[in-house]
């Protein structure tokens, strides 16, 4: 029972982090109709930036987090300017290929700057690594901190969308870009900020995840696939779906690892993607669009 609760707790914590990655994917997709294939690398860069700031420059953790998120935001904006804006009229294939190019570019840069394939960066733990017991549930204090922080980020995200002007502009543009232009919303600027916000969320997720795991340049793609699986499961157009999807992927992964074997972890995301695309094409909470011919 303790084992199961541990698995569930881990699953929920990692699931929350996947949910953040998925959120970034969904927010960008909703607004632009495009999935940024470099999203994983934006995640990775956020983590590496935080590492540099916190471990190498020795800034306090929270400050590193904020600066890394700002850095990710900037990278997201750059992605929009370079890959999306000039190519959106050429079609999806061009944008996807451009984002792939960016993803490898960033990965290569990270490898050159921070070390080769075999180098894993260890982020120091935030709190003592002893587990704590809450009733029947055993959880690492580290995980608890991360979980709470993740929830805080999600909350901030929700508040941003519902209350700030920028957030409302983004929602409006996502649902109807033409109408948004007509009421004076600067749509291409909204796209830019959307990419930025998506990247920032990914970066935050990486920084929160960093104390739990090792950082390495290829981690971007691994997290991207998990985030995408979560997004597809929840519905690529649904923000709450991304959260639900993320938690489900995280839990599924941990249970599979616990009961079948750890190598299954790598492939559980793939299983989720296949399952979702075959049986739930619009996701759990997504909406079916009306196809106008």
């Amino acid at each position: 029972m303790l084992m199961l609760s541990y698995l569930l707790a881990t699953g929920i914590t990692t699931g929350a982090l996947y949910a953040l990655v998925a959120l970034g994917i969904v927010v960008v997709y909703k607004a632009t109709g495009v999935v940024n294939l470099a999203h994983g690398e934006l995640f990775m860069m956020g983590g590496f930036l935080a590492y540099t700031l916190h471990v190498m420059v020795k800034l306090p953790y929270v400050l590193s987090l904020l600066l890394a998120v700002a850095g990710s935001f900037a990278l997201g904006i750059l992605t929009d300017r370079v890959a999306f804006r000039p190519l959106m009229k050429e079609g999806l294939a061009s944008v996807l290929l451009a984002t792939i190019g960016i993803s490898f570019l960033l990965k290569g840069i990270a490898r050159v700057v921070w070390g080769g394939k075999g180098d894993f960066l260890a982020f120091p733990p935030l709190v003592s690594p002893e587990p704590i017991r809450i009733g029947n549930v055993m959880i690492m204090s580290q995980q608890l901190v991360v979980l709470l922080a993740t929830l805080a980020v999600m909350l901030a995200f929700g508040v941003f969308f519902k209350t700030t002007r920028a957030g409302k502009f983004m929602q409006a543009t996502a649902s109807n870009p033409r109408a948004a232009t007509l009421v004076g919303i600067h749509v291409s600027r909204v796209y830019m900020y959307t990419f930025g916000v998506g990247a920032a969320v990914a970066g935050a997720s990486a920084v929160l995840m960093a104390p739990l795991t090792l950082l390495y340049p290829d981690i971007g793609f691994v997290l991207f696939i998990k985030g995408f699986a979560a997004a597809v499961l929840g519905g690529l157009t649904s923000v709450p779906g991304a959260i639900v999807g993320g938690l489900l992927v995280g839990i599924f992964e941990q249970l599979a690892a616990g009961f079948i074997g750890t190598t299954i972890q790598d492939v559980s995301a793939f299983i989720v993607i296949m399952f979702a695309l075959i049986f739930l094409p619009t996701g759990i909470l997504g909406t079916r669009g009306i196809r106008k011919i």
């Binding site: 079916r288 009306i290 196809r291 011919i293």
Partner: protein, 261 residues
């Protein structure tokens, strides 16, 4: 004899009833016009007929065969052709190649024949080429054979598309707003062209149009749709005077076009 029958077809998209219990019977060799305000379901009706949307209820019959639920390419094989509102010329091909694609169903070359350049393949290609060049001659555009489809003017593109639709000798052709974007003299030419297609080649035409002058002028029968229902059907003169039709058009703000003077 009915060449095309739509029986009690209903289609709903996510809670919106695009078509409600619509029935249409088209005789061979007729020109049938479909008019109605935007959102009336006209394009959905064409989509259902050609197989791009499956009706929730009802059936479509072509030349006596029930084609409900068939794939569009299979229905095309029965002799149904279709044009679309927006330009559907293949931009990656020349005009000649576009037209040869129109003869796709007349050919049989597959991977193996293509790989080995069999005599039958070469014969087939030569015949197709002859037919397409003849078709281009028919509309006086042979000089454009080697041009990219995108290098033509809008009117020329429309002509090539119509030729491409007809070159495979379909028996029933669905036209979605063929006159869109054409000036008044061009519309008159289109009118003549449509009549020639019907009279000289015996093709049945089902046409959605907003240019009332054209529809009323060239159609043998007109069907009026509104909000997914067929609200009137008959000869052009009768439709003009039908009070329901007048209400449907003038009772709505926005997109209803006033008839050309």
């Amino acid at each position: 004899m009915n060449s095309l029958t739509v029986s009690n077809v209903s289609v709903a998209f996510g809670g919106v009833d695009a078509l409600s219990d619509v029935s249409v019977a088209v005789d061979a060799g007729q020109i049938v016009g479909i008019i109605g305000p935007n959102g009336a379901g006209k394009t959905t009706l064409l989509n259902v007929i050609c197989g791009m949307n499956r009706p929730d209820r009802g059936d479509v019959t072509l030349h006596g065969t029930v084609i409900t639920g068939w794939k569009p390419s299979r229905i095309a094989g029965l002799g149904l052709g279709r044009t679309f509102q927006t330009s559907q010329l293949f931009p990656g091909m020349t005009v000649l190649e576009n037209l040869m694609t129109g003869l796709h169903l007349r050919g049989r070359t597959g991977l193996v024949a293509a790989a080995f350049r069999t005599p039958s393949m070469k014969r087939e290609e030569a015949e197709m080429r002859e037919r397409t060049l003849a078709a281009l001659d028919f509309v006086g555009m042979r000089a454009f054979a080697g041009r990219s489809g995108t290098a033509l003017s809008f009117g020329q593109q429309r002509v090539v598309e119509i030729v491409r639709t007809l070159i495979g000798d379909p028996t029933v052709v669905l036209l979605d707003e063929p006159a869109v974007g054409l000036s008044v003299p061009r519309v008159a030419e289109l009118d003549t062209l449509l009549r020639r297609i019907r009279d000289e080649r015996g093709v049945t035409l089902v046409m959605i149009e907003h240019v009332i002058r054209l529809v009323m002028g060239v159609s043998d029968r007109v069907i009026v749709m509104n909000s997914g229902h067929k609200i009137a059907e008959g000869r052009p003169d009768d439709i003009r005077r039908n009070p329901d039709v007048i209400e449907a058009y003038l009772g709505r703000q926005g997109d209803a076009r006033r008839p050309a003077p």
